[in-house]
């Protein structure tokens, strides 16, 4: 493996402190590394630099050299090299660090500049904070508190612009609040590759608009809401639902595909209000797909399973597990397990244990969609690689359970344990479902849960802890955001009790203890523990599975097979 080239460092001086930063770093990032905040609106670390908000103005200077001899000119007062300060302030976002660059961010001139920029921005900004969804996470609020003048001299009438323009199905625009930073335009152009936004008109008449006849309806439109520094772009789903300061943030993962975008789940008192992306430069930068933001609706869905059932009648979990144990005994040797690429690594490990105890063949169901090349991959199961790592399967799953169907028809399989998979959707006919006894672990009602002998309601990804392995073989963890719904039980508890009911060993159900067993039995997970897993995940060694024909195409930070070997695999 080729080690990534070490970046060339340059030393800059920020407010009297020397800091070494990689060449090409701009002044805002260099200052951030030195612990100095340079306020900005239009600059975004993952987008191109336009420098149109002028908030990041700082003073800059370079050490003086004699023009003729190139010898340093010393300042007799300080004994150091004299600094040639540029008389006018410069923007930090569009200036890259050069050796010896001196930056001052706390001078009266810089303070004046910031106050001036804030005053101009606030001239036409409406006093909407009480009704504005951005309040509490608004850059304009933060910067005007930190760097503003504190009072208004504006006595004229504020501009009037359209307040409620629907740019697309999920994004609402309030033109009065827009400060024309152009982040949303750049995002649509550069990241989403759907260049529908632009400014029209001039001066104070400037307005954000969609290209005539088009809509901001790509699957990444809600990222514009995230990066909008003010409340101009709001999500129609989250609009007026809850103030952000009440919401608890929990780190989670996007389970819609094998990309495994890192997310933050915002909840209050057990109800989830929204999902936003969490920065992980190795996976999703600061973006996520709109489709992944709606997954929280499954938690409180009407078709959620809420009680364990035995033969269609509500029962206790204990009775259901006992019934499952009896079923396993009566159909010993004729049991099959259908695992899931949606289960966590830990659940897949326990599924494997269950299959071993029952001596049952294991199959998984693949879900294939169309990859968009950004953050939704073709493999719509978030954790197929987890099943490979834990040894649940050795080959990639097929979309239909043909082998199982043949075995059922031949009478070789009389009982099927389905972990979260709808067998009907996976190709089993109603006649085949009627021939077998099904033990179904799942979250929502479907054909399989209706046909199942034993139904064990389990948890959605938002109600439990665990880990997933994404398409890069990056092990990432998700955490419990809301309490489990009434009547449901943690998948790990159910699986562990099923293993015990089938005559197997008693396996731990808390993640700390379970990870000790996992680390001991699964070589790829070696010396890790759930607690020590970093929030940005950990890349596993993918070489044992390098030959498998994974279906994913290229995405934001993923190169399929051959290209991946030369990538150097950034940690």
């Amino acid at each position: 493996m080729i080690a990534p080239a070490k970046p060339e460092l340059v030393t800059v001086n920020i407010d009297g402190r020397e800091v070494a930063v990689p060449k090409g770093t701009n002044v805002i990032e260099a200052a951030r590394q030195a612990g100095v905040d340079v306020p900005h609106f239009c600059y975004h670390s993952k987008l191109s630099v336009v420098g149109n908000c002028r908030m990041c103005l700082v003073e800059m200077g370079l050490p003086t050299v004699d023009p003729a001899t190139k010898a340093p000119v010393m300042d007799p007062a300080t004994g150091k090299q004299k600094i040639n300060w540029i008389p006018r302030p410069q923007i930090g976002c569009a200036t890259n660090a050069t050796p010896g660059l001196h930056i001052r961010t706390q001078t009266p001139q810089v303070k004046d500049c910031r106050e001036g920029v804030m005053e101009f921005l606030l001239i036409n900004h409406p006093l909407d904070c009480p009704i504005c969804d951005q309040a509490g996470e608004c850059k304009l609020q933060e910067q005007s508190t930190g760097y503003g003048r504190g009072y208004s001299r504006f006595i004229e009438q504020k501009n009037v612009k359209p307040k409620r323009t629907l740019l697309g199905p999920r994004v609402m625009l309030d033109d009065e609040r827009c400060i024309l930073c152009s982040r949303c335009i750049r995002f649509s152009n550069e990241i989403a590759k759907d260049d529908v936004l632009g400014f029209i008109d001039r001066g104070s008449y400037s307005t954000l608009a969609c290209y005539p006849g088009k809509k901001l309806e790509n699957n990444y439109s809600l990222n514009t809401v995230d990066i909008c520094p003010v409340g101009a772009l709001t999500s129609t789903d989250f609009r007026f639902k809850m103030r952000v300061w009440f919401l608890k943030q929990t780190n989670s993962l996007d389970t819609e595909s094998s990309v495994g975008a890192n997310t933050v789940v915002w909840s209050r008192e057990g109800a989830i209000y929204r999902i936003t992306p969490r920065q992980n430069d190795g996976v999703n930068d600061t973006w996520m797909a709109d489709s992944g933001r709606e997954l929280y609706k499954q938690v409180a869905a009407a078709d959620r399973l809420a009680a364990a059932k035995v033969s269609g009648a509500d029962s206790t979990l204990d009775a259901a597990i006992t019934a499952a144990g009896d079923l396993f005994k009566s159909s010993a040797g004729a049991v099959a397990v259908v695992g899931s690429g949606r289960s966590s690594v830990e659940e897949q490990f326990l599924t494997r244990k269950l299959a071993t105890v029952l001596q049952a063949p294991v199959s998984l169901v693949s879900r294939v969609g169309k990859g968009d090349g950004i953050l939704v991959s073709a493999d719509r199961n978030p954790n197929v690689r987890g099943a490979l790592v834990t040894g649940l399967i050795n080959a990639l799953p097929a979309p239909k359970l043909t082998d199982l169907a043949v075995a059922i028809d031949a009478g070789k399989v009389r009982t099927v344990v389905a972990v979260g998979e709808d067998l009907a959707a996976a190709g089993l006919t109603a006649a085949q479902l009627a021939k077998i006894a099904i033990v179904y672990l799942g979250t929502h009602a479907n054909t399989t849960s209706a046909a199942a002998r034993i139904v064990l309601p389990s948890l959605t990804v938002f109600e439990k802890n665990g880990t997933l392995v994404n398409q890069q073989f990056r092990l990432q963890k998700f955490q419990q955001a809301v309490p489990a719904a009434i009547g449901t039980t943690d998948d790990l508890v159910i699986l562990s009790r099923l293993v015990a009911a089938a005559g197997g060993p008693t396996l731990p159900v808390d993640l700390t203890a379970l990870w000790k067993v996992l680390a001991a039995e699964v070589s790829a997970l070696g010396p890790m523990s759930f607690a020590s897993l970093p929030e940005t995940g950990l890349l596993l060694d993918a070489t044992p599975w390098a030959a498998l024909p994974f279906i994913e195409g290229e995405s934001l930070h993923y190169q399929p097979s051959s290209a991946k070997a030369t990538e150097g695999r950034p940690a």
């Binding site: 009480p130 009037v160 409620r164 009440f246």
Partner: protein, 179 residues
Amino acid sequence: MAVITLQRKPLTFAERTYVPQILSGLRTTFKRLWRPAETLEYPEERPAIPPGYRGVPTLVRDPNGREKCVSCQLCEFVCPPKAIRITPGAVPEGSGREHVEKAPSAFDIDMLRCIYCGLCQEVCPEEAIFLQNQYSMSGYTREEMVNHKDRLYELGGTLPDAHHKWDKKQAAAEHGNAH
């Protein structure tokens, strides 16, 4: 600890008859009998409430009958005993007040939790919540002690408005710098 033994003084003859004490007590009684009463015949009579009194928190309407609360939830945030619970909602288009955009769809104040501190009134950016002169709250159940939105507006009534912020906003949208 040392114990100090005190000698009780013997009562005089006059003290032993109790007559002077009874008479001096009766003197006070008769003196008060002819003066105007200082107590109130509550609940038939009610005290005058001084300005600035912090009674039951209420929601008020502006002189045009518009509900002033925009459900910014600052009162809910600042409320020390967490007595306030708001469910925000959007003002529907066509209601004539859609320029305000936001209004509470539910607003509950649990008067068993409220400590009458007045922070909600102080923090309100729309001057929509006031602790007025209502001070007597009673009920037979816990549920009765929760003031819902209708009850809060009934208690609050209409107060004069110095700003008419949203009316000005609407006027500006209709005649102002529009383009």
